[in-house]
Amino acid sequence: MKLLQTVPSTAIGRSGGEGRLGRIRDYGIVVTFVVLFVALSLSSSAFLTSTNLLNILDQSAMVGIIACGGTLVIIAGGFDLSVGAIFAFASVAAAGVANHVDPIVGLLAGILAGVLLGVVNGMIITRLRVNTFIATLASSYVFRGIATLLTGGFLVAVTSDAFTVAGTYELFSMKFTIWIFAAAAVALGFVLARTAFGRYVYAVGGNPEAARLSGIHVNRIRVATFAISGMCAGIAGMLAASQDATGSAAGGVGLELSAIAAIVIGGTSIYGGEGAVWRSVLGVLLIALINNGFNLLGINPFYQSVVQGAIIIVAVALDQWARKAARSTA
């Protein structure tokens, strides 16, 4: 029995893309992105240069990779606040293993650490039934704490040149990190949109009980989304360590919030069940464009965070309006 439920029983679920608000929510990110891109091209001659554009992509790559993985978690109805800590842990793991074993094994160890910590998150959430928000908030303290214990609070410098290849190598004059961002976006976008697993991710976030009664192993799907999110954070942490030839337990602070901000700005619903990877990619790039534009136009950088925050509020408010409008007309 639901107490205080006063919604009339005639209310039905929202109609996707139906109505003006629904469309604004569905394609608002595309329009905003294009408008800003054109505006910046016209107002600054420095904007539309390959150096500048590559620079934007390079700055977006880390948070972009993490946001791609985080999108799956949010669509499945969860939150992953531990990706910043996993990023740091992975950079330490990669650097440590590189120094003690082998530089290439070190890079792989960073990724593997991310996957394992993601699975740990998933287990805490499904086995111990801790709310995802709290579970990953708590685990982020644990992960970062362990990383700090392992390093004793010092940076872990790596001397091997092979180790820095992943972070600094360029292919067709584009940094390897950008290629990995692109690969993550394409791969996870495909998984989500085209595979049975992707369908199950939407189902679990949309209606977990119906998903279970459809024969979907809901907990396995949820653990998998956290493992993927952890893997993405691990890859980003490994790339960061490789770039700087250093592992740092203090790195990646606040990355989780940047990633969630980008996902939400892209239009993926924080209520789960809806969203897409391409949206998060646009969300990440939109934030980067704004920052870049402020720099090029010489506007006080403190306005950047004001604008970024305002955009998040607008994105979520649009989501709410669209839902409400769909309910009342349905």
């Binding site: 139906e18 049975a196 369908r199 199950y200 279970r212 009664l213 979907i216 349905a330």
Partner: protein, 506 residues
């Protein structure tokens, strides 16, 4: 009927549409003060919507409404309350962690020097309790009370707000048998005090017991309004269905007693909701499962589907034991479940028809985990065609379909796999008459093809009209088994209530 009195509420030409679907049209209705006026009809007939319009919960699209002869436009339940009309919804709306006293006066606390006056509140609560003769505890949070007690708190709240008319929407739907009796007695006392009641229900026995006037609705139209004494139960049923009961059901092909058993359950137990249940379903057989709400019907359905863990018992499909750790095991064994609540357990209402239809058997249309679009298109087209889902657009969001079409999506989701056993829990809840008959046809057709079907329903005529064999549950046990020939409403109700005496088959 000529009443000299001005009706308390009168509506003329009332109409309401939900996203293009007509819920009410051309309703003329007068409600006499001091009476219990029942609104009856099948699910989807519009009776709840009419009740909600009167209570200001839903705004009508056409027509006018008068209270005491004065035209009114309610923009919200608060407007209706100001006019003396309160609503008690199907879903209880109390603050669970507060006491009955606090809930009754919530937002209207008697005050002293600006602060709520607990003593005055308690005094008025006791007066109310006295005049209604309700035995509701003033202390302790209402969240722990039984549903029937919570409804009494809601009634007290309505009376405390000087409501002259109380609209009750299916108030007995979630009540146990004894609680229903208490509630009906409470309604009679309200009427004695001069309060007018609009009683929305599809349970004819209750309506016949307490109503002074009965209005029958069908497909959003008003069929008739009559004094309760002047209309018999069969006449009511006929008015609700638009035809006599017998003709509503398709012909059910006889089931051979030698047909192989497709589903057999033995000694199924789960805490105290299922106590040692055994049953068998043969190929081509429709077994009806009747019983009161809370008798264990839906719990049995979920247990047979692996949705809840069992304490004991075995389930066999085609003679093979099935280890039920999750619904996946049941599905793989060939069992399908149409769950009781379409919206909460069955559908992904924000997703498209296509996604919903294929969700339970994606592995049949994937290659190495990748969904094959052409196979999905073909599959979904087949579902829309076979089950006549309207509108037939695979990209339509399921939540925007009518109840009947949502139910068809749910059926197609399971039946495209050709399960051996279909368990349908309340298969026609909240769907209109047309869709209801279509669902009966589907069920009869499936049995005709050799599927074993278990139909669970609160609507007795549905069980009696479809089933080869009726099982009646009471308190977690199968209390009685009746063949199609022996089953009649009296026998089923006696078994369900536990009031049966030794009956010798005539």
């Amino acid at each position: 009927m000529a009443h000299v009195e001005t009706p308390l509420v009168s509506v003329r030409g009332l109409g309401k549409r939900f996203s293009g679907v007509t819920a009410l049209t051309g309703i003329d209705l007068d409600i006499t003060p001091g009476t219990v006026h029942a609104l009856v009809g099948e699910n989807g007939a519009g009776k709840s919507t009419l009740g909600k319009v009167i209570a200001g919960v839903v705004r009508p699209d056409d027509g006018e409404m008068r209270v005491d002869g004065v035209p009114v436009t309610f923009r919200s339940p608060a407007d209706a309350l100001a006019a003396g009309i309160a609503a008690i919804q199907q879903e209880i709306a109390l603050v669970p962690a507060r006491t009955a006293v606090e809930n009754v006066f919530l937002g209207r606390e008697p005050r002293r020097r600006g602060l709520p006056d607990a003593r005055a509140m308690r005094r008025r609560f006791d007066e109310l309790r006295e005049s209604l003769r309700f035995n509701v505890s003033p202390i302790g949070s209402v969240g722990v009370l039984r549903t029937g007690e919570q409804q009494k708190v809601e009634i007290m709240r309505a009376v405390a707000r000087d409501a002259r008319l109380v609209v009750m929407d299916e108030p007995t739907a979630a009540l146990g048998v004894d609680e229903v009796e208490h509630l009906l007695a409470a309604i009679k006392r309200l009427r004695e005090r001069g309060t007018t009641i609009v009683f929305v229900s599809h349970r004819l026995e209750e309506v016949k017991e307490i109503a002074d006037a009965i209005t029958v609705l069908r497909n959003g139209e008003l069929v008739t309004t009559r004094p309760a004494a002047e209309i018999s139960a069969p006449q009511l049923v006929e008015a609700m269905l638009g035809r006599s009961l017998q003709s509503a059901f398709p012909t059910i092909a006889p089931c051979s007693p030698d047909a192989p058993v497709v589903l057999s359950a033995r000694g199924v137990r789960r805490s105290d909701v299922l106590r040692d249940v055994s049953l068998e379903i043969r190929a081509g057989e429709i077994v009806g499962l009747a019983g009161l709400v809370g008798s264990g019907r839906s719990e049995l359905a979920r247990a047979l589907f692996g949705a809840d863990q069992l304490d004991a018992g075995t389930v066999e499909v085609d003679g093979e034991p099935v280890v039920m750790r999750s619904p996946k095991d049941a599905i793989d064994a060939g069992i399908a479940l149409i769950p009781e609540s379409r919206k909460d357990e069955g559908l992904f209402v924000d997703a498209t028809v296509a996604r919903n239809v294929t969700m339970a058997h994606l592995h049949t249309i994937t290659r190495r985990g990748v969904v094959q679009p052409h196979r999905e298109r073909a599959e979904v087209a087949r579902a829309i065609d076979e089950f006549d889902i309207r509108p037939g657009d695979p990209r339509q969001i399921v939540g925007t379909l009518s109840g009947g079409n949502q139910q068809k999506v749910l059926f197609s989701k399971w039946l495209l796999r050709h399960p051996k056993v279909l368990i349908a829990d309340e298969p026609t809840r909240g769907v209109d008459i047309g869709a209801k008959l279509a669902i009966y046809e589907i069920i009869a057709g499936l049995a005709g093809e050799g599927m074993g079907v278990l139909v669970i329903s609160s609507e007795l005529e549905e069980v009696l009209g479809l089933a080869h064999r009726v099982l009646v549950m009471r308190q977690g046990r199968i209390a009685r088994e009746l063949s199609r020939e022996d089953a009649n409403p009296e026998r089923v109700m006696h078994a369900a209530f536990g009031t049966e005496t030794a009956q010798v088959a005539a």
